[in-house]
Symmetry: C2
Subunit: 232 residues, 2 copies
């Protein structure tokens, strides 16, 4: 698939990924030893990752102790929104260039160092809004969740297969808009299965809260099944 | 903003961009000499780039000769949709890795070589669905247009500033969904101006056709103002 011309560049990319994978494994150990489960949230700009957290954090309050790492290229807008929920939040801003389009394991490590992981059960890592690059980088998560808005169309699993094939779960968001769209939900479900036969998903609206229970249930099941020392 | 550790990588990235810029200038000359105006369409997955073309191509039929380069990571779904409109279309698939998240000038060149540019007045280059990486790469376009769906939220210009600061025009798409959203349109307009005071935009619905006239008008004005040999 690659041309000869590009082989030097491919080598550089491969080295970057190998270095990343080593740090990702360290992160995974760090999260596990602290008993903090890490969920990597990826999705297109505007898929509703932050609003999903805004709906999820109150639903988890009292059930578990949650922290958030909010990844962005620029601005601290998401971290500001999250901080209203009185959970520890760290903004990871990837800067103007060089790793801008996704979080890397080292960026997550730096952000996690600012959280007291021993006092957390769950860490949401909201990745940069991008359905391509974040899928290529392991950041040491326990699970990867793709947030997909119904407004994006039923063809997205086929067009961005890596995101969906590396995902453990999909939140199909903005279900309240379905009556106003031409989305073929059966085709979307079929496309999800085609790309990743093991994939589970839930259809919900972070805005209205409809369907949120299934998402909370999936998180709780994942938490119950996780490895690592019990905290309580 | 950059750490010392990353300087080697930054050098590689800089070299890639410099090489790209040289090919982009060649592309620009190629398009200009052929009298074919090139419009780079960028936007998030699901912003409606392909549907915008599906609405635009019939509106331009008889007015000018149009070709399309459809960029994607995987699949030829978009090119198939476009080919229904009886315009020359070339699929540029960026492959599984190494330049996957955006079109580069060299990819556009290879695709353009499959079009008879001398017989075209306008070439739409539909970039990979991604609001980050495509903004970093000049592909030799005459104009860059960001397609932004109203479902993505009013904060997007601030969070993805490079896309909007390098754009000549913004198509705010899916305006038919506005009654069902909490979007603050005034804030969106304000944010667009903040990032790029010269930016012009139009609000339309590619699905219903509402507002399409202003977009067609912008294209025709751009075509009238372009440099290069007159063809007719």
């Amino acid at each position: 698939m690659k041309s000869e011309k590009k082989s030097g560049r491919i080598t550089v990319v491969t080295k970057i990924l190998e270095a990343n994978d080593r740090v990702a494994e360290e992160n995974r150990r760090m999260f596990s030893e602290a008993g903090a489960y890490a969920i990597d949230l990826i999705g297109s700009p505007g898929a509703g990752k932050t609003m999903l957290l805004e709906a999820t954090l109150p639903a988890l309050a009292g059930l578990m102790r949650v922290g958030v790492i909010a990844g962005d290229i620029e601005t601290t807008l998401d971290a500001q929104r999250i901080s209203a929920f009185n959970v520890p939040v760290v903004q990871a801003t990837t800067g103007a260039f060089g790793g801008a389009c996704h979080l890397e394991a080292s960026t997550v490590r730096q952000a996690a160092d600012q959280l007291d992981l021993d006092c957390l059960d769950l860490v949401f890592i909201e990745n940069v809004g991008n359905l391509v690059c974040p899928a290529e980088f392991d950041i040491g998560q326990g699970a990867r969740v793709v947030v997909l808005s119904v407004t994006e169309g039923e063809d997205k699993p086929l067009k961005y297969p890596l995101a969906f094939s590396t995902a453990d779960f999909v939140v199909i968001n903005k279900a309240d808009l379905l009556p106003y769209l031409d989305l073929d939900m059966d085709a979307l479900r079929r496309n999800l299965r085609q790309v990743n036969p093991k994939l589970e998903w839930v259809e919900l609206s972070a805005r209205t809260g409809g369907g949120l229970d299934s998402w909370i249930g999936w998180i709780r099941d994942k938490m119950d099944a996780r490895e690592g020392p019990a905290k309580r």
